[in-house]
Symmetry: C2
Subunit: 231 residues, 2 copies
């Protein structure tokens, strides 16, 4: 069975990405990170999703990006709330974590080489997203080029492919795809600023993109929000 590393945050995108990879016949090795994120509750979702996907193995690595800071996800900076979709697209918000996808992909590359795996799946999306530079196809392509010069495996001819099946889909299309694959989005977590009990705030960019996605997909939103109306 061909192997793939799945970068798994526990959100809609990585869960759907995993469901697609599973359907394509990959044996999945899921990799999640406890990186100092304020929404570390997402790791509970990652565990549930890994279980649902029947992954071969699920690792959670510790890596203290909060020691660097520089993001509202890894420091006490306030997370932006209630921003309109067009405002979200104007500038890279402070939820951007410096070099996060570079770091996550680099660690995935290391694990991939050790288990003799030539595929990494990452649920980056360049349509309904927050403008993070490390979600763009041009970044992924450059990472793949670099990775294929970085390792003993590559030097010996085992080329790495980074799969981004969600890259050009809207959030609604992603949700429809996942539903068609039987995915239960009630397992997933998106909110950047959840309550202590893990309830979604309903107002951060991630919650808003998620909500709009469910509405546009015509799918009932299974998210548990802090208030009944999700405001």
């Amino acid at each position: 069975m061909k192997k793939a590393i799945l970068l798994l945050s526990g959100g809609i995108d990585s869960a759907t990405c995993g469901a697609i990879a599973r359907q394509e016949g990959y044996g999945l090795y899921a990799l999640s990170f406890r990186y100092g994120q304020r929404h570390a509750v997402e790791l509970r979702a990652a565990k549930k999703v890994a279980g649902f996907l029947g992954v071969k193995e699920h690792r959670i690595m510790e890596i203290d990006l909060a020691a660097f800071g520089g993001s509202s996800l890894t420091s006490n900076l306030p997370v932006p709330k209630n921003r309109a979709k067009k405002v979200m697209r104007n500038a890279i918000p402070n939820t951007y974590v410096p070099a996060r996808n570079t770091i996550f992909l680099a660690l995935a590359l290391g694990w991939a080489e050790v288990i003799d795996c030539c595929n990494i799946f990452i649920g980056v999306n360049a349509v309904d997203y927050s403008g993070y530079p490390d979600c763009r196809p041009v970044f992924i392509a450059a990472f793949q080029t670099m990775a294929n010069l970085a390792t003993k495996a590559a030097v010996e001819g085992r080329a790495l492919t980074i799969h981004t099946p969600l890259s050009q889909l809207t959030k609604a299309q992603i949700i429809q795809k996942g539903r068609a694959l039987g995915l239960d989005y009630g397992l997933t977590h998106s909110c950047y600023d959840p309550s202590a009990a893990g309830l979604a705030c309903g107002a951060c960019d991630s919650c808003r993109i998620r909500k709009i996605g469910f509405t546009e997909a015509g799918v009932t939103d299974p998210t548990r929000y802090i208030t009944k109306k999700g405001k």
Copy 2:
């Protein structure tokens, strides 16, 4: 004062690289890693070298690459000993740590962005080295290209440069350069398989390349070996 991140292992190359960066007028932010290496004693050397260089800050990050394994530096695989120089060049040895420089550079990239720094110094060498693919100029160039697509800083026009001043030098030339800059190599540590007291084995590839370097440079080797004769 212009800033640079210095990847600092505590060995000859990173110490010399730091001395060169300091002479070029950079304020240095040194970054070391406790990554599960069997020669974690090198971090004591890194601290001494950071002190000698007068760095602005020295961070030691924890990152458990031993959980992946796949290298004699991060597992119980035996470290090769007493190999001739030409044998060392024949194949990538098991001291290769999968994706190590990719991971270290990715983390350096994250810290660089947070402190608004556009320079990373790394002491890679492609002459007297062990054939690691992630020490080659072609890898470094590809990493820099990728990094300049990865970050908010890059999107906003603050391009990153990766400096590799040792890339084309022999180990003897590196040692001569460091000595000319006043560097005390007695502060540094190279051995992959030191004794519990931190004495060098004298027989691993890293010790052998180091020893030959001192001999060829005509510089007294300050290393403390396990036996008097270093065998």
